[in-house]
Amino acid sequence: MKEVPLSTCERTSIVSALQAGLRYDNREFLEVRDITLTFGKDYGCCTATIGQTRVIAQVTCEVVEPRPSRPNEGKLSVAVHLSPMAAPHFEPGRGNDLVDELQLILDRNIKESRCLDLESLCIMADESVWHLRVDVTVLNHAGNLGDACNIASVAALRHFHRPDVTVEEDGRVTVHTLEEREPIPTFMKKVPVCLTYAFFIVDDYCYMLMDPSEKEERVMSGKLIVGLNPHGEITSLVFPGRVSLQKEQIVSCIRNAFSKAKSSAEMVQKAVDEDIEKRKSLIKPEGFINCLASDARYARQRIMRKIKTTSKTEFKIPQEPVEDLQESMDEIQIKFDPFDSDEVTTPMKVKQHTAKKVKVSKPREVASESEEEEEEGKLTSQDLQ
């Protein structure tokens, strides 16, 4: 299935909303959507949501031979999968630019940043080491997959416990099941954080947004993905062309990223530690059952919270007489089906309803215009002022 094309209207309205200082989901420009982390029954399985974006990461391990060049280091690999589940236009088993980009971000942020102590994954130098593999699958694509994939894989890695091993005399390794022996936690030195900034260039003015939604991603002029850790190190910078930025803008971006990195990293650490604590006290971890909320429920929660935080005061309904409303409604309730109706209605002169017109016109004029639209029974407009 092909991606639904983006109309000019959607493109321009996002930009003009930004010019008016607001985003579609009523966020501040530098506000990120809610992040939740949920852990599965097994160690190293984690789903992360950022708003309606949803990603699952699973860590698996096996005993392999080390690279000859690094005989005492374990291996770590990350793989990203995009299936038609994420969005209908992705094809199963076929790569695209987005997968390549995500793969690049994760490789740099997690593998090449050496956030994990690979030497601790060594069982016997030159003989056998652990190979940790992180599989990240995108379940729902609603923008900002980079941050979501990063957070899910970091949380999964921190959460992961590898089974204990004993080395036999002849050099063969016996892996103990989780029931036989307590598994060993992975040690993560630094928590990598990934933050995405979207840029919209409108009339020489640059708007900077954090955590772009899917629609914003399709419209934006360019983006900067900053990979960093709270220790003040930048691990990666991905800046796919299409826009040229001032030096100061990038610097301010990075400064902002560092201010957010700490809280983001702490959030992940806290979520992982809490879950592991729970596992120690409870006999059986609950896993995903009943603790994953659907996108619809998240959306609902978000709306309710937005409403609550903003409206403390009682809202006043505009003092319009109800009769007036009724009158104007009666006027415009003419419906007909052009294919069915035999009655002859007077042909209507159709005006081009331009944006300008609505802006400058007096309220009454807007009403008359809406009435015309009403004739089809498809368009409604109420004029009350």
Partner: protein, 274 residues
């Protein structure tokens, strides 16, 4: 082209239906009768065990190659058996060049499932030295001519080839950590069970066809395969979707399959002993 051929080309559905109405199939068989089976073993001299099986026009070759491998950590005293089915375009226009298709994969998985369910082999028998050496049997099944009922033919070929396998004796020198193979001395492997598959195509609620040809398969909707052991117990039922069946129809399938088990196993036994 005869009139019958033209009819078949233009209206395959009614052509086929007209046979079924008379309780016959286009190849002259009744609904529940099977095609003749021929089995030959040792047809590939370079393999450690091999067989060629014909079920009607369906021809399948199975070759088994034994290799020495290291057992996995989890099961240090077990060998391996790896069945693999290949369907090349030469056997039917249905198959295309490239990675194995759905049918080939399903058949490989089916064979694997039957071997483990029926416990055809005791995998510990394939172990030579604990935690060091074990036999790995690669069973490659290749279809040469496809005319329906691949499951039955592939399983018969695999079973016949397994009974034909002769493994060379291996001696292991513990001090030098070296193994030597004695090609002169060979031993057959013991099979614990000899399962036989019977496939039925469901045409409608009241019409089922045993041992379907390729034409039966395209006309019908969905197959049911039951695999039985000699003692009559069901070792696998495989019905991947397709037309609904009533549970009591399964009963008749099992009864018919029971008769087939004996016939097929005597046929293989005879060929092996020759």
């Amino acid at each position: 082209m005869t009139t019958m051929d033209i009819w078949k080309t233009f209206e395959p559905d009614t052509y086929y239906k007209s046979f079924l109405e008379k309780n016959k199939r286009p190849d002259g068989r009744g609904l529940m009768s099977v095609r003749p089976i021929t089995v030959k073993v040792g047809t590939i001299t370079t393999a450690d065990g091999s067989s060629t099986v014909r079920v009607g026009h369906t021809t399948v070759i199975c070759g088994i190659k034994a290799e020495i491998a290291t057992p996995v950590l989890r099961n240090p005293n077990q060998g391996f058996i790896v069945p693999n089915v290949e369907l090349y375009p030469c056997c039917s226009h249905m198959f295309k060049i490239g990675p194995p298709g759905e049918k080939a994969m399903a058949t490989s998985q089916f064979l694997k499932n039957v071997i483990s369910s029926a416990k055809v082999l005791d995998l510990t028998d394939l172990c030579i030295v604990h935690n060091k050496l074990a036999w790995c049997l690669y069973c490659d099944v290749v279809c040469i001519n496809y005319d329906g009922n691949l499951y039955d033919a592939a399983l018969i070929a695999l079973m016949a080839a397994l009974q034909n396998v002769k493994l060379p004796a291996v001696s292991y020198d513990e001090e030098n950590d070296k193994a030597s193979v004695d090609i002169e001395r060979t031993l057959p492997i013991t099979l614990k069970a000899r399962p036989v598959a019977s496939t039925f195509t469901v045409y409608s609620d009241s019409i089922q066809l045993m041992d379907p040809t390729a034409e039966d398969e395209t006309q019908g909707s969905g197959e049911v395969t039951v695999v039985l052991l000699e003692n009559g117990s069901l070792c696998t039922t495989h019905k991947p979707g397709g037309q609904l069946i009533l549970p009591n129809i399964l009963d008749t399938f099992v009864d018919l399959a029971k008769q087939r088990v004996h016939a097929v196993n005597t046929l293989i036994g005879k060929e092996i002993n020759e």
